[in-house]
Amino acid sequence: MFAFPGILVLHAIGMGFAVGVSAALDLRILGVAARIPLAEMRRFLPFLWAGFWLNAASGVLLLIGYPTKALTNPVFYLKLTLIAVAMVLLLRISRSAFAAEGITATPDRDLPPRLRTLAIASLVCWAGAITAGRLLAYTYTRLTQLH
């Protein structure tokens, strides 16, 4: 049983980096730390992806550990949907914010207004995904397949 707590720990650390770096990028788009050239934020993205893949892997292991608990709970599908939407938003934000190589010093007023909307949507999705994930511990109806 040492493995299960260890995987939960990795899942929490991965969340911190995936959501944390994504939120930092969103906040930068919304005007926080405005002196960082937006395109330079891409340097932190590998840590976001490391957290994401760590959580994809640890999440699959947790699912293998208690498949019935998650798969019978609608909140689990809500969590996965919110994560999927957050990742699509991240890709769209990345395309828009990092696309133009060389114009790293684009003033914020020249950013497409759509980018701010995407950043806010990203923050909302992550908050929803985390809340849904936390609620999994309280909303499951079956832990194992025993009837």
Binding site: I13, G16, A24, M41, I130
Partner: protein, 180 residues
Amino acid sequence: MHDFQVWLVTTIYKHSPVADLMRTAWAWPIAESLHFLGLCLLVGAIGTFDLRLLGIARKVPIVAVHRFIPWGLAGFAINILTGTLFIFTEPDQYIYNPSFHFKLLFMTIGGLNAATFYLTSYRRIFGPNAPLDAPKRAKVIAAISLCAWIGVITGGRLLTFYRPAPCDGRQTSLLLACQP
């Protein structure tokens, strides 16, 4: 220390103003969700700054990335608040929990480490002629910071697996890690 722990748990149980609220169906899960959101803000802001000190995005002035820090402190404040709600509801589950003791230890290391950064490196990094590459000492501090916060997360996430078992209260360890 053992007497202090017992006194703390007893006092909180007797006077806690929030226990009834926290025992309603939704309060605890909502506070937990906020605790996780605060965690992400903290790692996203402080972790990003640490990574910058360590050399990520080295073309960006360090002072520019430092603007994220208030958001990390906001995350920390959310977590102190929600964490206090948990302790004020189930004090024995934390005060006697070895995992919580380690969490506090890592929090203390993180705090003293941050204080060391501002006392020793602040002027060199944020003053005029600030270097783009952080001095070695600041890099060591950044690495310790990342490890300390990962330690805090680990101690927090493992709390439920180290729930204190009943005991006779005559442990020899520095801190009581069972329920007398």
